[in-house]
Amino acid sequence: ETAVFQTPNYHVTQVGNEVSFNCKQTLGHDTMYWYKQDSKKLLKIMFSYNNKQLIVNETVPRRFSPQSSDKAHLNLRIKSVEPEDSAVYLCASSYWGDYAEQFFGPGTRLTVL
């Protein structure tokens, strides 16, 4: 099956802990993204990454960092989570280029207590 896979589905943690979410795509794409979907359902881009460049949304706090081992994987690490980090984190992938369709994974729901 070709798709975007994310683990875990859910994660509950305490303020100040470190968390890491995994994303893998088997679509043969060369670009991956992380989006945050908040409680109002707003989707906001956090990072875009391919083997040439990492683009970071300037509003993303520095405690967030993407980690890539190859073009099929892009993980998200959050150092010292805050309550406002509670959200659904969605990974997506596409080909690098104009009007490329982005395919989304099912998301990881993070709850920070």
Binding site: V4, T31, Y33, Y35, K40, K41, L42, L43, K44, I45, S48, N50, Q53, I55, N57, L90, A92, W96, G97, D98, Y99, A100, E101, Q102, F103, F104, G105, P106, G107
Partner: protein, 113 residues
């Protein structure tokens, strides 16, 4: 400031009716407008997309009408079915596609039999 605005927030239609979802944008540099459909617990999935060089795009029962001068567009869902009940997101991107998509807050559509 929300760069992509959607209305209404929620919409209820009867089976067989046409649902009309509206979207407007601020940034004149946006030239690609995909609509995504999201079911609870899933990631968004691309439904249909239009580029700013066109004023209409049809795919199955879905049609986008685009007005570049007014900076707005609408999605028409013809012959709505209960299975079309979902949240629909209007998104936009410009020529710097690597910066990802800018999403609206979505319209929640409920189709009753």
């Amino acid at each position: 400031q929300q760069q992509v605005r959607q209305s209404p927030q929620s919409l209820t239609v009867w089976e067989g009716e046409t649902a009309i979802l509206n979207c407007s944008y601020e940034n004149s540099a946006f030239d690609y407008f995909p609509w995504y459909q999201q079911f609870p617990g899933e990631g968004p999935a691309l439904l249909i997309a239009i580029r700013s060089v066109s004023d209409k795009k049809e795919d199955g029962g879905f049609t986008i009408f685009f007005n570049k001068r007014e900076k707005n567009l609408s999605l028409h869902i013809k012959d709505s079915q209960p299975g079309d009940s979902a949240t629909y997101f209007c998104a936009a991107s410009g020529n710097n596609y690597a910066q990802g998509l800018t999403f609206g807050l979505g319209t929640r559509v409920s189709v009753f039999p």
